[in-house]
């Protein structure tokens, strides 16, 4: 088995982050925005797993990576739960979850 080069993983996580940020900036539907946030978060999680494996060769190093990744999965789930709570409240109040219609707070 030939190992994939590290740069391939870094490239993948950069692409994930790019997709996520692009989605956060352009999506107008709050649910799709939540998905974009998840994708951006996954870039960091992937990096932690990959570099946990990379540093695994050094004594005393390498265990943090995968454990941090697990914690971040939990964090991402918490964030989405809070986001869905805000979506529900918005939908009850306005009957719409379109972000672009949120224009009360403008001068």
């Amino acid at each position: 088995m030939t190992d994939l080069p590290l740069a391939a993983f870094l490239g993948l996580s950069a692409v994930l982050l790019g997709i996520g940020i692009f989605g956060i900036l352009t999506r107008r539907n709050f649910i799709l925005l939540l998905i974009a946030i998840e994708v951006a978060m996954n870039a960091a999680i992937l990096n932690f797993v990959v570099f946990g494996a990379y540093w695994g060769g050094t004594p005393g190093y390498g265990l943090e990576g995968p454990s941090i990744a697990v914690v971040l999965v939990g964090l991402a789930a918490t964030e989405v739960a809070v986001g869905l709570a805000i979506v529900l409240a918005l939908n009850r109040l306005r009957g719409s979850i379109n972000v672009a219609e949120a224009t009360v707070l403008k001068l």
Binding site: F51, V82, L93, V99, A102
Partner: protein, 542 residues
């Protein structure tokens, strides 16, 4: 190696206990606003006393829960612990708890019994818990997770009423920006982990040792990219320009008490993160020249990437741009809360000077500025909440005659604005004086930071003075519109202290802020020596 005892978490346990008790009582159907408020305030006061005891303030020192050898222990002896107790962190804990105390006191007595009281006080406690945990961190991931605890609690806190479209929209914007900043911060942290192989704040930004391992290609650029992502990600929390656009909408749309907490507490967590993450690489640059670290075993590769001066330049430019943009935009605002929000952004610029200069007096000055900002800005938002509760509009011109009609609120607000502008005898003057003189002492291009700060202080006087003129010099128009229900007005002859309409808890909180502004303005030594100690010890421990 210094072992960390569990007692370092005593303040957090008080907060957690109070929060869980509130949610427990709420879930069994016991809904009494005063009890929730009392529990929250009690928990925060106990936590604050524990932190002051750990800081070894004279009458409380006997109750200190953290052994003296653990406080400010060198980080090299922590053995990779996630938690470190520094007097710098303890000072920040005291600052966070003070702002939480002001907010919970002022929410104690509301005109009506609100349904969301348990949510409000519980989330306030959880947000404060996240802040105090962040102040203990010795690990980048621990720090970012604690900041996220604060973030997630405050997203919900902004929209906790669920009926108010403005609050809910502010919560939505805050959530999107917060989630984006979290993703960017953690991506930055993952890149730093890639380059250094550790997430300990003590090791990040110093020498990389590759032991039995091929060195990572382009480790320096990966680390640099990681720092860039962290500057952006945490910058959103600090509301540093150009990451400030959300803050004005959120501070404006949130309930005033929550705005007070955001400006007084949650912004400071970001600043604390900036200090903790970026002081090590900035200091490392100076140490590398004197004693370059050696390889522990024979065969290894070491890298000494030096980010010191570029980071200082970035934060210096950021400080100048932040204070200028905040002040110029504050000049143009016609809404009171938006004006205060922009002024809060400009104050963040002053605080960043401390990080750019990164000497012990400058850090002490930044600490004093952060401490003062709690009383000035959180107090000002509390007054705005009180005035809104009295049925006065949110525009600056609606405040005509407020100073004469409600002397207590008017005088308190005037004191807070004068302190924000930096008038002598107030704590705002002392903090700016210490900060700017530290920048001048540091010589070199840092002098320009002090010059920019002075010019901006002069500029800020214009918009504060405008509010004072409206409040005291202009006559109120005769009231024709119907007053909102719940508003209590003194009629044609207002009582001298019109406290009835604003609630005693809020009056006490505003009173504390005003007294603190004068007390620490006249006797700054009370806290300044502690802050200088904290700054010295931090620079030695790192």
């Amino acid at each position: 190696m210094t072992a960390i005892p569990w007692t370092v978490f005593v303040p957090e346990l008080f907060l957690l206990g109070a929060a869980l008790l509130i949610f427990l009582l709420d879930s069994v159907g016991f809904r009494w606003l005063e009890v929730f408020g009392g529990l929250a305030t009690g928990g925060i006061v106990l936590a604050l006393l524990a932190v002051l005891a750990d800081l070894r303030f004279a009458p409380l020192a006997a109750f200190a829960t953290v052994p003296a050898n653990v406080v400010d222990a060198p980080w090299s002896q922590l053995g990779g612990s996630l938690v470190a107790v520094t007097s710098f962190g303890l000072v920040f804990q005291a600052i966070f708890l003070t702002s939480a105390l002001l907010v919970s006191l002022s929410s104690l007595s509301r005109p009506t019994k609100e349904k969301g009281a348990a949510i409000f006080f519980g989330l306030l406690l959880f947000a404060t818990l996240g802040m105090t945990l962040a102040a203990l961190s010795a690990d980048l991931i621990f720090l970012l997770l604690s900041i996220e605890i604060t973030g997630i609690s405050t997203y919900l806190l902004v929209g906790y009423t669920r009926r108010d479209p403005r609050g809910l929209e502010a919560a939505m914007k805050f959530y999107i920006i917060g989630a984006l900043s979290a993703a960017l911060s953690f991506f930055g942290a993952s890149l730093l982990y890639a380059a250094y192989g550790t997430t300990s704040l003590y090791a990040l930004g110093t020498t990389v040792v590759y032991l039995g391992h091929p060195p990572l290609d382009g480790a320096t650029s990966i680390a640099l990219l990681g720092y860039a992502f962290l500057i952006v990600g945490i910058g959103f929390k600090v509301t540093a320009v150009p990451f400030q656009a959300w803050a004005v909408d959120v501070y404006d749309g949130a309930p005033s008490d929550v705005s007070a907490f955001l400006a007084g507490g949650s912004k400071k967590v970001g600043l604390f993160g900036y200090f903790l993450v970026f002081l090590v690489p900035i200091l490392f640059a100076g140490r590398l020249a004197t004693a370059p670290p050696a390889c522990p075993v024979g065969l290894c590769v070491t890298l000494h990437p030096d980010f010191g001066v570029p980071l200082q330049v970035i934060f210096g430019v950021m400080a100048i741009v932040t204070m200028t943009v905040g002040n110029v935009l504050a000049l143009q605002q016609s809404e009171m809360k938006r004006m205060l929000a922009y002024s809060s952004i400009s104050q963040a610029g002053y605080m960043l000077i401390g990080l750019a200069v990164a000497t012990s007096p400058a850090i002490a000055g930044a600490l004093l500025q952060i401490f003062a900002h709690v009383f000035m800005k959180a107090g000002a938002f509390l007054v705005v909440g009180a005035v809104a509760g009295l049925g006065i509009g949110s525009k600056i011109e609606d405040w005509k005659g407020v100073g004469l009609r409600y002397p207590y609120l008017g005088l308190s607000f005037a004191v807070m604005l004068l302190s924000l502008a930096g008038v002598p005898l107030t704590v705002g003057f002392v903090s700016k004086f210490v900060l700017f003189s530290a920048a001048v002492q540091a010589q070199g291009w840092f002098v320009w930071l002090a010059v920019a700060g002075l010019l901006n202080s002069a500029l800020s006087v214009f918009y504060y003075a405008r509010v004072l003129r409206v409040m005291y010099m202009e006559r109120p128009e005769p009231r024709s519109a119907a007053l909102p229900s719940g508003a209590v007005l003194g009629g044609s002859e207002p009582p001298l202290l019109a406290l009835g309409g604003i609630g005693y808890g809020r009056a006490i909180a505003i009173g504390i802020a005003v007294v603190a502004i004068f007390a620490f303005g006249v006797y700054p030594q009370v806290v300044l020596s502690t802050f200088q100690n904290a700054a010295n010890h931090l620079l030695q421990a790192l």
